[in-house]
């Protein structure tokens, strides 16, 4: 069914690929655009910007989100900033440098051509957002301000206090609102996509459930765009919103779309530590804090119970500064997270359960004054105090890594189209740009690049050959998909067991965190692969989903998502086991340098792993497809932040 994976990268020199691709892509003329219906699932930075832009271009767009308003998509929670190669600081930044930082940061597991394009359009994003009224921070002269951000040696990050994601999303939401009012975009809030409909091999529609009325609906379109974010909630506890889920992408996978690199999950180093079993989510503290905060633990285990202010400087281990002198506290996320886990595993962690490290602002306050620190991070210090009850101006913050972002996602080619023609995947939901580790302030950049500046050029290239091919919702594939979904909902409601959803989801999350989290090994992964089907069986026999399907039923919504996580978890572990090397966030204990850093195996694994669903409804081992990665511009080197 699928031959070798062709990423359809344009020929020619790296720097000219995108321009030449745009010059030769097929177009849809303005008077034909209104004849095309496009479904966009998700209203975050990627989906919202795509829907607004396609609507503005004159296509008829339908945008779906599970939230009660498109303004609530989880992009809103991003704090730190957005990268762009503007070089406003005159500090040596360039498109090439943003590109090469992203390739290296991703530990050579992303595509050069995609990443170069991302760096190229990054500058347009800032122009666009400023034109929309996004209140980025400015200097006294009125020009835009920048800061340096996790893992970068230049200041290329634009920010709006600690609420950059919120402001970018509101800019995009407002553009979307304008199109909704103009009638070019029809918005379907509180509507969840439950299946993809494939007709004659092309993605031509979706099946949805209205979360308020419970009504199941069918929608046909000329193309389907998934912008449904990441799957971090498979771990139960993550920094994702409660509703974030894998359902749309996983069900597309079950309809033939390939899932790429599912084991690449980013563990963010600066989150508020876990405090008890009842906890429903973990809260991120923006990594911008690492610009001024110093990370340390006591040198001696015996000091861990002491108040931090009683531990003198020479008895503290500023382990990031010690191990990575040139990057220090700004070392990339995967490296910082693993280093925190290591010191805690040595028994030098602080706080309840010994799962925490200090992030200390005392030196920065001494150097810059409390007022400056308050201006830079005031809202983050407030969040911290609300959750923990501690004042971080007086005692160091305690932080610990938590699941934050997923680099894996549906496989897409250079046009952001999956192997299923017509199915496009953008933002965190695809796998394309971040390789095995995403750099800070690059998620917002990718979401908006895809939605404002890439998909609007690549989607017409597909549509141009699809005039008049939109099926009716009476097509047999729609009817079949609808009846399958109804049966699945009935099955969930029929289980009528005694266990709560949360208890099973928590069990799955704990298992993955242990076996497929910050570090993995073959034995642990095999154990997880043996255990997950048991947890899944337990779910399908003993969970209790109350109420009925024809109603507002939050337990039913979550049950469907947990059911998908229970299958998807197996795919993650399968991928982690097959990738018998370490790279970026994927740290296999069997493969490390003598200093304990990730040891890549470029000969065998400089390739994308894209998995094809097998099993005709049953779960069978997925089939592996490879897309070799070629590094023609940035030479393969071992990452070094020392």
């Amino acid at each position: 069914m699928i031959g070798t994976l062709d990423p359809k990268i344009p020929s020619g020199a790296l720097a000219g690929k995108w321009n030449s691709h745009k010059d030769h892509a097929r177009l849809v003329s303005p008077n034909n655009r209104r004849k095309f219906e496009i479904i966009i699932v998700g209203s975050g930075l990627a989906g919202g910007s795509a829907a607004a832009t396609l609507g503005e271009l004159g296509y008829r767009a339908k945008c779906f989100c599970y939230q009660d308003s498109p303004r609530r998509a989880h992009s809103i929670a991003a704090q730190g900033g957005i990268n762009a190669a503007k070089n406003y600081q005159n500090d040596g930044d360039s498109v090439y440098r943003l590109f090469s930082d992203t390739i290296k940061g991703g530990d050579f597991r992303s595509r050069e051509a995609n990443v170069y394009r991302l760096a190229e359009v990054s500058a347009n994003i800032i122009d666009q957002c400023v034109a929309q009224g996004v209140p980025f921070a400015r200097e006294y002269g009125g020009l835009l301000a920048n800061r340096s951000f996790g893992g970068a040696q230049v200041s290329r990050t634009f920010y709006a206090r600690g609420q950059t994601g919120q402001q970018l999303l509101l800019g995009c939401y407002q553009a979307l609102c304008r199109q909704i009012a103009a009638g070019t975009v029809q918005m379907f809030p509180q509507t969840e996509m439950l299946d993809l409909v494939v007709v004659d091999g092309h993605a031509k529609g979706i099946i949805t459930r209205n979360l308020v009325s419970g009504k199941i609906d069918k929608y046909a379109a000329d193309a389907v765009v998934l912008a449904t974010g990441g799957y971090g909630n498979v771990f139960y506890l993550s920094t994702n919103a409660r509703g974030c889920n894998v359902t749309a992408t996983y069900r597309a996978y079950k309809k033939g779309a390939l899932f790429a690199n599912p084991c690449f999950t980013q563990i963010h180093p600066t989150c508020i530590p876990h405090s008890g079993e009842y906890q429903s989510k973990l809260t991120l503290m923006s990594e911008s804090l690492r610009n001024d905060g110093r990370v340390w633990v006591p040198k001696r285990k015996e000091d861990c119970g002491k108040s931090p202010n009683q531990i003198p400087d020479n008895e503290r281990d500023y382990y990031l500064e010690r191990k990575y002198p040139s990057y220090g506290n700004l070392s990339p996320r995967d490296i910082s997270s693993r280093a925190a886990k290591e010191v805690c595993d040595e028994g030098r962690g602080v706080g309840p359960g010994g799962r925490g490290v200090y992030l200390d602002f005392a030196d920065a306050i001494k150097r810059l004054g409390e007022q400056t620190i308050r201006e830079r991070y005031g809202n983050l210090f407030e969040i911290y105090e609300k959750i923990t009850g501690d004042n971080a101006y007086k005692v160091p913050m305690r932080i610990y890594p938590a699941v934050h972002y997923t680099m894996g996602g549906l496989w897409v080619d250079y046009n952001l189209m999956s192997n299923v023609p017509g199915l496009h995947v953008i933002g965190e939901a695809n796998f394309a740009d971040h390789g095995a580790n995403r750099l800070g302030a690059s998620a917002l950049m990718q979401g908006l690049a895809d939605g404002y500046f890439i998909l609007p050029y690549t989607l017409p290239n597909y549509l141009a050959s699809q005039m008049g091919k939109r099926p009716s919702i009476d097509h047999s594939q729609f009817k079949k998909a609808e009846s399958d979904i109804r049966a699945k909902i009935d099955n969930l409601l029929k289980i009528n067991g005694k266990l709560s959803l949360d208890s099973i989801h928590r069990e799955l999350g704990g298992l993955l965190w242990e076996k497929c989290g910050m570090s993995r090994n073959a034995t642990g992964l095999r154990e997880a692969l043996a255990k997950i089907p048991e947890v899944r069986e337990n779910f399908w026999h003993n969970v209790r989903v109350p109420g009925d399907g024809e109603d507002f039923n939050q337990a039913l919504e979550r049950a469907g998502r947990v059911a998908d996580f229970l299958e998807f978890a197996e795919l993650m572990c399968t991928d982690a086991l097959a990738r018998n090397e370490s790279c970026g966030a994927h740290f296999r204990q069997e493969h490390q340098t003598p200093e304990g850093e990730a040891l890549r195996d470029d000969e065998n694994f400089a390739t994308v792993f894209a998995w094809e669903f097998q099993g005709n409804g049953q779960i069978a081992p997925p089939k592996l497809h490879r897309e070799p990665l070629h590094f023609e511009t940035v030479h393969l080197t071992q990452r070094s932040y020392k």
């Binding site: 122009d127 009224g133 919120q166 939401y173 553009a175 609102c177 009842y278 429903s280 609300k386």
Partner: protein, 251 residues
């Protein structure tokens, strides 16, 4: 800690609702208010009863999804902050806590504690945007904006769209919400071309949704999780007066 809860239960918009008594036992003071409700729901589920419906998503105070009135206060006792940021250490052990939805005529109840706030989206759709087509934007630094102006715009732009302002207002007015968006965009040079039409359209949309007027009680400001200042309402009034005058002169 232990609590007695009186929680609003209402099956749907058409039927009437009532307060029902529940108990929350052995709750750690470090539990968030919504996690406490999760625990109550787990108990209900174990007993075969229907869980309490309530909205939440990010659970870190930024998405604006959660919306509860606790003991008569929108978002509960720990201002500024959304109800997802309220921790049980803020309550007394043994306290009776009354939990209701946001009570606003323009926010009909969907179920139990969940309300429909799409009226706020429609106010933004009426004009709460700057028309900037992707592809046409000028170079970002071509218009310098004084830092104090952009800082003030950011204060207004911080609104999370939760609707607590309307829930707290004795007139169920959405003036603070509308004022925040009008002010954010009017304070920036990019917002200038649509400044007049924007405020007129947004205020008309707000009125059409059935929200009340402002009578300067400042309850909105007191409960706003994003600390939006009520002085933006004065700004809205000035913008509206300016726009009305301009519109009438043009006619």
């Amino acid at each position: 800690m232990n609590f007695r809860l009186k929680i609003w239960r209402q099956p749907n918009a058409k039927s009437s609702g009532k307060l029902v008594d529940y108990e929350a036992k052995d709750i750690s003071p470090n539990t968030s208010f919504l996690e406490m409700l999760d625990i109550v729901n787990e108990d209900l589920l174990a007993r075969g009863e229907e869980p309490i419906a309530f909205d939440s998503d990010c659970r870190e105070g930024i998405c604006g999804t959660c919306a509860l009135t606790i003991n008569g206060e929108a978002h509960g006792p720990d201002h500024p902050g959304a109800v997802c940021e309220v921790y049980m250490r803020k309550f007394r052990d043994g306290e009776t806590i009354i939990v209701e939805p946001f009570r606003v005529r323009s926010f009909p109840v969907v179920k139990d504690l969940v309300v429909d706030r799409s009226a706020l989206d429609r106010i933004v759709q009426a004009g709460g945007f700057i028309s900037a087509r992707a592809g046409s934007a000028p170079e970002a630094n071509s218009i310098p904006i004084p830092k104090p102006d952009v800082d003030l715009a950011m204060e207004a732009a911080a609104c999370i769209g939760c609707g607590a302002c309307a829930a707290a207002c004795p007139n169920a007015s959405a003036m603070l919400f509308t004022a925040a968006k009008v002010s954010h965009l009017a304070l920036l040079p990019q917002g200038n071309p649509e400044r007049t039409s924007r405020v007129l359209k947004m205020v008309h949309a707000m009125d059409a949704e059935g929200f009340g007027n402002c009578t300067n009680t400042y309850e909105c400001e007191a409960v706003c999780p994003a600390e939006i200042s009520a002085s933006f309402i004065a700004k809205l009034n000035r913008e509206y007066a300016r726009a009305s005058l301009r519109a009438s002169v043009r006619e």
